[in-house]
Amino acid sequence: MRWREVCRWEALRPELGAPVLVDGHLIALFRTEDGELYALGNVDPVSSASVMSRGIVGDRAGEPVVASPMHKQVFSLRSGRCLDVTHPELALPTYAVRRQGDVVEIGLP
């Protein structure tokens, strides 16, 4: 695993996704209210637009999720899977992410 620094922890506002670019990967980075970090592919599989970081963050029955700002499909922040019964086949890639002191890092295999 190669870890890349992407931004300062403080620059990441709770529940406001941020788009990052790591070795050609388009990634949406999320920090939830409870301080957890998540990283998923930023490209919405339905519209092919790179917009997932602009979606609204929340929960579905306790599972942290982000809703696509395009067509509102809801994806789990943990697994990247689409939780809408109509689109169980959709998924976003997930990435390793961690906080190292003041900075946030993404890990690529």
Partner: protein, 843 residues
């Protein structure tokens, strides 16, 4: 062998006949040919009047089952059946082609009766029966000021209401001594007359129509009554009863009823075993029916008979309920107490304008009929109890007026609750429990109840409640409340953040449904910038970037152009910005300019230039006031009577930035020509000789609707006060994503209730609503200027937080007609696709 069934007339009953027939003739033993005189396929004639307040033909569409695309049905519209040759079993048509039949069903309806007074056929005289009639009336109303309706029955009052909505001063002439003499008794008729006159109609009862007088232009000028009175009339509508269209049958030698109508037996068959008649043209055992429900029952009878069944039509009790100018009128059963020994129980309250009469059998136990005027809340229950013992004393049944007296529980299981579709209470409750139905829409789908005249819908709600179904109005899994309830909670508690609200009144962490709703509520009540620390994460992407997201993830930019008025300098600035940033440029329907294709990181740069040139956010992205469209107005237009441009600008500047449950569009027209299309807006203002008319609840879109008149002839101050109240009341009480039209439609009491609250201040909140609007106006600040002044907010407009100089590689454009457009989306951009792993590693 396939036989041929010919249906003459594609009206409500003919249509019902064909759909019911096709639904049951599974083996396609019959081919069906329908001949319809009108150019349009059958529509909801009962709802005809709504065609004038803007509902198009599409909204009058009848449910067609599986008819569309049914190859067994050959529907020929604009074709008149001219004669029937029973010997050769042929119908001759206006198309010249003979149509052979094995069975023939006449469903030709009726025609309005026009009394043969001198001048009855002058230009300016109309009937009120078809969509084409209404088109003609509407066309003629533009030039007209005074209208007269001849006939004060059910249809006459509907017609009078329609003329009033078209802006005519309207008078009604009724031969009998009171209005609606067929349906209501004298006491009810007088109460009705007083209520109707209070609303601005002039009523002449006990007067016959002597003649229609022509003016110099050869068009109608006045109606002269038999007592000599002259009533001005640029337009006359005859609504003096109907006559069955039995001419085809007569000419074919078939017997007709004493008072007209194709004579049929209780199976709806004429004396020719191959010829049947249904609907208003039929005289079953000599009696005709001027309502749709009995016609439907006749249609079902003939369907059954043709397919080998043994159904009969057992007659029907007339029952009517309507709401005219906000006045409820209902009549059912033996309304005129003609049963020997019948007893009347009457409650009249002149002050509140209500009148109720129950007609009981001589032992005062069985309900035989009744009349309700002013408040018909009890009608669905009472009608279901017709012919049955009263479950309580008449006094208890009648008081309190308002329907609170009797609940749906009082109705026995086998009583009919929907007479249009002959559905019993038991049918409905069985459907609710068997299918687990939770709302009225489900009941309608499963049982058809409520899909006819709609008068039984309140009862369906009552039956749902009776089965223990609580309507599910929760916003989402995080809040059990409706938007309106959340609004009140925020207002009462003074909570200013989502996290506090969800902690104290909700569950979980929120989602893309409740967060934007709360953001909109907070924007109105708590103020502050929509992208402030607390609120940014609640916003939909459009609000979060103050621009409209487009299919490839770029945004469009719409600067505000109040009232559509713009200086050449500002126009040049827009052009220069579009050119410099390579944006696709389009003029919108709301009289402004939309610039497409802006990348997130370009938005602050674009807005820097626009704000410097004096532009503000146009809120095209928000559930907020969009535009106030205007026509050219008095300064330039030779027709204008009011300064529409100045008023549009004034309104747009007043309400800009106002966050609401849905977008709000508005328009101001300087005269009745309505060039600004104000009546297709949430609120529309039209100048009159005496000030402004205010219309509310219009919209374009999926189901277009015309706005309806809320108040007339207002001065500037009164107009603004009413719009203030209207908008604030909407913001407080509407549901999530509910446009004003749907909001008014769902309101108990509809437009009348809205008028009571907004115009007459029936809830005593007018002052508060106006004060809330004043606060909004005082606190307004341009959102984009607010972003540009705050480096932290600007910093969120980046392609990548770790590589702000790299543009998003997924965004590509091609060009068409000299401008950019989103690049092909089929071959998605090749991206490195990592394997999906079950759990991300977390800090």
């Amino acid at each position: 062998m396939t036989r041929t069934l010919v249906v003459v007339g594609h009206g409500m009953v003919g249509h019902r006949f064909v759909t019911a027939f096709r639904a049951r003739d599974h083996e396609r033993r019959w081919r069906v040919i329908v001949l319809g005189e009108e150019r349009h396929p059958a529509y909801d004639r009962v709802g005809l009047s709504s065609y004038l307040d803007g509902r198009g033909l599409a909204d009058l569409r009848l449910d067609d089952g599986e008819l569309a695309g049914d190859t067994a049905v050959d529907l020929r519209l604009g074709v008149v059946a001219e004669s029937i040759d029973r010997a050769t079993r042929t119908v001759w048509t206006s198309a010249g082609t003979p149509v052979r039949y094995d069975a023939l069903v006449l469903a030709t309806g009726s025609r309005p009766f026009v009394p043969p007074v001198p001048g009855h056929d002058l230009p300016g005289c109309f009937a009120y029966r078809t969509v084409d009639d209404l088109d003609r009336i509407r066309a003629a109303s533009g030039e007209a000021r005074d209208g007269v309706v001849v006939g004060g029955g059910l249809l006459g009052l509907e017609a009078a209401n329609a003329l009033r909505l078209l802006g005519l001063r309207t008078q009604v002439v009724e031969m009998a001594d009171w209005l609606m003499p067929l349906q209501v008794d004298e006491g009810g008729g007088h109460t009705l007359g007083r209520l109707v006159e209070r609303l601005g109609l002039v009523v002449h009862t006990g007067s016959g129509t002597g003649a229609v007088e022509a003016g110099q232009d050869g068009r109608t000028r006045a109606v002269r009554l038999t007592d000599g009175t002259e009533v001005p009339a640029d337009l006359v509508v005859f609504s003096a009863g109907i006559r069955a269209r039995d001419e085809l049958a007569r000419a074919a030698g078939l017997p007709v009823g004493e008072r007209g109508g194709v004579l049929v037996d209780e199976t709806c068959r004429t004396e020719d075993p191959r010829v049947w008649a249904v609907g208003e043209c039929a005289a079953v055992a000599g009696r005709t029916y001027g309502l749709v429900a009995p016609g439907y029952a006749m249609a079902e009878t003939v369907v059954d008979r043709l397919l080998g069944g043994s159904a009969t039509f057992g007659g029907a009790e007339p029952a009517t309920k309507l709401k005219l100018l906000g006045v409820d009128v209902a009549s059912f059963g033996d309304a005129h107490s003609t049963t020997p020994g019948a007893l009347d129980v009457v409650h009249a309250n002149a002050a509140s304008g209500t009148y109720t009469k129950l007609v009981l059998s001589d032992d005062a136990r069985t309900l035989l009929g009744g009349v309700l005027v002013g408040d018909a809340g009890a009608y669905p229950t009472l009608r279901a109890l017709l012919g049955r013992p009263l479950p309580a004393s008449p006094e208890e049944v009648l008081a309190p007026v308002g329907g609170g007296g009797l609940s749906a529980d009082a109705v026995p299981d086998d009583a009919t609750v929907c007479s249009c579709h002959n559905v019993s209470k038991g049918d409905v409750t069985a459907a609710i429990t068997e299918h687990g139905l939770t709302d009225v829409a489900g009941v309608k789908r499963c049982t058809l109840a409520g899909t006819g005249c709609g008068s039984c819908v309140p009862m369906l709600g009552g039956l749902l409640a009776g089965c223990g179904v609580e309507p599910d109005r929760a916003l989402c899994e995080h809040f059990r409340h409706t938007r309106a309830e959340l609004y009140e909670i925020v207002r009462a508690t003074g909570i200013t953040t989502f996290s506090e609200l969800v902690r104290t009144h909700g569950a979980g962490r929120g989602c893309d449904v409740c967060k934007p709703v709360v953001a909109s509520i907070l924007a109105g009540l708590a103020g502050g910038h929509v992208l402030s620390e607390d609120q940014a994460g609640l916003q939909d992407t459009n609000d979060r970037f103050l621009a409209n997201i487009q299919r490839n993830g770029t945004y469009s930019v719409v600067p505000r152009i109040p009232g559509g008025e713009i200086t050449p300098e500002k126009l040049i600035t827009i052009g220069e910005v579009a050119r410099d940033f390579g944006l696709y440029t389009k003029i919108t329907g709301g009289q402004r300019i939309d610039l497409f294709g802006a990348r997130v990181e370009q938005l602050p740069l674009i807005w820097r230039r626009l704000v410097d040139a004096g532009f503000e956010s146009g809120h095209a992205y928000g559930k907020a006031l969009r535009t106030v469209k205007s026509c050219v107005g008095t300064d330039w237009c030779r027709y204008g009577v009011g300064d529409s441009v100045a008023m549009a600008i004034r309104l747009e500047l007043r309400y800009r930035g106002l966050r609401a449950p849905h977008k709000i569009k508005a328009g101001v027209s300087g005269c009745a020509r309505e060039c600004a299309e104000a009546r297709s807006k949430d609120f529309g203002v039209i100048a009159t000789e005496k000030g402004w008319n205010l219309y509310v609840g219009g919209n374009g879109g999926f189901t277009p609707r015309h706005a309806e008149l809320l108040a007339a002839d207002l001065d500037d101050r009164a107009l603004i006060a009413l719009v203030d109240r209207f908008l604030m009341f909407y913001i407080r009480t509407a549901d999530r994503l509910q446009r004003t039209a749907a909001w008014i439609g769902a309101m108990e009491g509809g437009l009348e209730h809205l008028r009571a609250v907004v115009v007459d201040d029936s809830l005593g909140i007018a002052e508060e609503l106006e004060a809330a609007m004043e606060r909004h106006v005082g606190e307004y600040a341009d959102e984009w200027a607010g972003v540009l002044a705050d480096p932290e907010k600007v910093a969120r407009f980046v392609s990548f937080v770790n590589s702000p100089d790299v543009p998003d590689p997924t965004i590509r454009f091609t060009t068409e007609r000299g401008q950019i457009r989103p690049g092909a989306t089929d071959g998605p951009v090749p991206l490195p696709l990592p394997v999906i792993r079950p759990e991300a590693v977390r800090a």
